[in-house]
């Protein structure tokens, strides 16, 4: 039986105070869509004595334009998916958020929770890495910024200290010459965890030559990151379908070199090649079916 005390801080300062006091014996709850499952499964909850429910901290539920785009960790998947500014300036993230779970889960689940939980299949992580997002971590009396791909260190592992709270996600808006693609594969149409996903952002010059590319697969590498070998294939070219496929093959090679040949590799290898090729074509706005 799990027994714990529940705190509901009314503002950020209260939340940081509680974290400073209870540190490792406390767990933060935002939307609860991952935590409730972990509580039910009693997984990794042995030392948890306190739950700090931050879902009432409206000050962390923002989506706003500054120098770039700033998203509060308590912005829900629905908010992110439906936000006009996210759709316009970071469509790859809106697309990913719209695929998570079901309407009920998207109404509860938050982008901060998705990132901090750091599941390998987290749908918003790949696009955020492709957008080169940074995250703000605050503790009582201090804060720091980390690039997202450094923040997540492995499956369900991050650099978040026990007394820290993620309070912001920031990235540059995509310029007009950028195209994006997001592909996701799951076992059914909705309410299914991604087997794999891939986010692609491609910037091209006026001739259509690729200036820059971000290719980030999800549930493929032990920690999220760009596959530079794949990106390099595209940069400086006007890519065709064959090149997109080769980039996909480079992602598959990166997967195998990082994780070895596992039980799932015979399936994931051909599938990630196809998904990557399609995401690249989607980013290039060519037919991928």
């Amino acid at each position: 039986m799990l027994e714990f005390d529940l705190f509901r801080p009314q503002n950020l300062q209260e939340a940081l105070d509680l974290l400073a006091e209870y540190k490792g014996s406390a767990r933060v709850m935002a939307g609860g869509t991952d935590l409730m499952i972990a509580l039910r499964a009693k997984k990794g909850m042995e030392n948890v004595k306190y739950i700090i429910d931050i879902s009432r901290l409206q000050e962390l539920a923002y989506i706003r334009e500054g120098e770039g785009l700033e998203i509060g960790p308590l912005a829900t998947m629905t908010q992110v998916a439906e936000s006009p500014v996210v759709r316009q300036c970071a469509g790859v993230l809106a697309a990913a958020a719209s695929t998570v779970g079901s309407p009920q889960i998207r109404n509860r689940g938050t982008i901060g929770g998705n990132v901090v939980n750091a599941a390998v299949c987290a749908d918003t992580v790949a696009p955020l890495v492709a957008l080169e997002a940074k995250v703000k971590l605050e503790r009582k009396g201090g804060s720091r910024w980390l690039p997202l791909d450094q923040f997540i260190t492995g499956p369900n592992r991050t650099q978040l200290a026990a007394d820290e709270l993620m309070t912001g996600i920031v990235f540059a808006k995509l310029p007009a010459n950028a195209g994006w693609g997001f592909m996701r594969l799951a076992r059914r149409e909705a309410l299914a965890i991604a087997r794999m996903n891939v986010a692609v952002v491609i910037k091209r010059d006026s001739q259509g030559k690729v200036e820059d590319a971000s290719i980030v697969p999800g549930a493929v590498l032990p920690r999220p990151g760009r596959v530079t070998e794949a990106e390099k294939l595209l940069i400086g070219t006007i890519p065709d379908g064959a090149l997109a496929r080769r980039a996909g093959e480079a992602v598959a090679e990166a997967m195998i070199s990082a994780a070895g040949r596992r039980w799932s590799t015979p399936y994931k290898e051909p599938a990630i090649i196809a998904l990557t090729e399609r995401a690249i074509k989607q980013a290039l706005e060519v037919e991928w079916r």
């Binding site: 039986m1 499952i37 079901s102 390998v120 299949c121 499956p155 594969l185 076992r187 059914r188 149409e189 909705a190 309410l191 299914a192 965890i193 087997r195 549930a219 596992r262 039980w263 799932s264 015979p266 399936y267 051909p270 599938a271 090649i273 196809a274 998904l275 079916r289």
Partner: protein, 769 residues
Amino acid sequence: MDTVNKPARRVDALGKVLGESKYGADLQFEGMLYGKVLRTPYPHARILSIDTDEAATLPGVEAVLTAADVPGLHTFGTVVPNQQVLAKEVVRYLGDAVAIVAAVSPAVAEKALDLIKVEYEELEAVFDPEEAMAEGAPVLHEDAPGNIAAHHVLEKGEVEEGFAASDIILEREYETQLVEHAYIEPEAAVAVPEPGRRGITVYGSIQNPFSCRKALSRMLGFKLNEIRVIQAFMGGSFGGKDEVMSAMCARASMLALKTGRPVKMVNTREESLLEGYKRHPYKLKYKVGATKEGKLTAMKIYILADAGAYTAQTPFVTWRSVVQATGPYEVPHVRTDVYGVHTNNCYTSAFRGFGSPQIIFAQESLMDELAEELGMEPLELRRLNGYRQGSVTATGQKLDEHKVSLMEVLDKAVEKSDYLRKRKEYANQQGRFRKGIGLACSFRGCSLGAEGVDATGAMVSVQYDGSVYVFSGLAENGQGLQTIFSQIAAEELGISVERVRFMPTDTAAIPDGGPTVASRSTLMGGNAVRIAAAKVRETLLGAVLGRLKASAQELDWGNDRIWVKDDPSRCVSFEEAINEACSQGELLAALGWYKAPKVTWDDRHGQGNAYFTYVYGCQVAEVEVDTETGYTRVLKVTAAHDVGRAINPETVRGQIYGGVAQGIGYALLEEVQQHEGEIKSLNFDEYLIPGIMDMPEIEAIIVENPDSFGPYGAKTIGEPTLEMTAPAIASAVAQATGRRVRQLPLDLERVLLGRSLQQDRYKRREGGC
């Protein structure tokens, strides 16, 4: 007909959608305690000792019981009573219970479970049916040598002669998976001791109240009349709330009798998936011979079904398989062997279809494979060999007492789905996304057949204000029985459905009419209601003869009135007729009892008239496959089913939509992950069933060929609807990809690679996705 064959609104719908209907877990009683179950951590082990002292002294704990406390016998079961309500000496699967606790709250009960100390000696376990049959394998039950829970044989003709006469022989192996019913409501029951005298009343999510009562009688040591089982509203069952509910009700009852207080037990979803029985996984070897023209000459079939730890309904499930294993095709020479085999896996028992979805997947896949070898259109092969009026089945039964409508359902499904044109169109495709279309058909014996005694009853009781009770021995499990029975009662009495109130199934209110299974309710129970209502109507007619100055033959009835056929102005209202009858002291209630027509069975050769009537169906599935990922979407299912007569066309369509949805899950998604007896997928985040987004357009075609035995000609619809969806989809996928998958489900890996990767995962002990 005024009411029957019309789309009446479901009589139980409003309370359900308004949240007013009370399900098992909603029930509350004064002083009620909460029961919880401690289960074994080993799939096969000897219990050395159980120490409950510490748990029993925990504040708030009112009782802790083990097998030693069972008042009657600690086992139960319909065929072979070897299932344990509480494990006595040996546990045989991970769902086996070793102790139960009643406490003032579920939390205290759960805490008490942690304080029970059980010492086990692990025993060698076996998880594969083939290994379980081999010499030297651990034997689970002494009275089942070789772990054989059931073996059915069928011999027709001389199978080797049939193969000798064939031009082509095909041998194929198919495999189906372990599947969960996935009813939306997990198991729940409340047992209430009778105050002042020996007796217990149990309410709950109970599919078969009479089966439950019989099991309780054995385990509690109570007479049948000391036990009353009342069904609560049901959140689905699909065959799944039989043995598991008998066990739960017995445990709740023991705790209630021990404490003298009501005890509620509710399974979590995880407990439900862990303990509840599933659909049998089958391994099927088919050998078929045919002439080059496509005429079937012989079929040899060998099937292994994993029965898991206990016998439950395995002998009946596998019996339906042996009867129907050749499909609706004339095969002169047949040899079939079906074995149900014990293992230390989760036990398997009844599940909508009951031994048919497995064999239909194999036999219909085989027909398509044979057609391909012969260069024939699969439809033509079926037309050439399919049952027609007077055909003789593999069991030697001549089909001449009902309309054999296989060709009619085939034709209708094929025409509506545009099967032949699409089949040609999809034959040559380029691109990553490819479409395919496939069909499957079946014949299905209605009701219990030679499984056992087949009779049931209902009572219709007309009250003096014009309202009517209907009591039935069969139960509403979500299928729409209340509505169907209310319609039939209304039709026979000539009144509106609104006057009829269906009473919860209560073992103290009506004679035992057998279980609500085998798609038998409309056919069997419908007849019983019809008989009961007609008896009351005859009494009413008799009571008004003097007033209307007419003989009974001259009267007609309907729309809440009785009138003289030749002079409708001479009429009485339903209420006036009741008043007349009451003033004459007539009884306005009647018990209807219907006995099924005779069936026969010779167990040694598997020959006989297995069922008294059959239904026929055909489904066509259209799919689109992503050939680079294996992702398969069903685009459309066309389903033609002969139901005899649709008592309510809307509930028939509902059955078809629901059955096809379940069939799609069986085809593409559903597979209980079980490794060394341990169920890995314990909730619906991992055990995936189709959602609304996965559902295609379903075109339901109701075919009506009234049956001479059925009420108004009605037969069966519940089970046939899901049994042929998977093979239709499998053949559609085979057309799309050019490769046939012979294992269910056709998940991403099987469609892309032709095999599942799960076993590699367990072998390599790797996690991840």
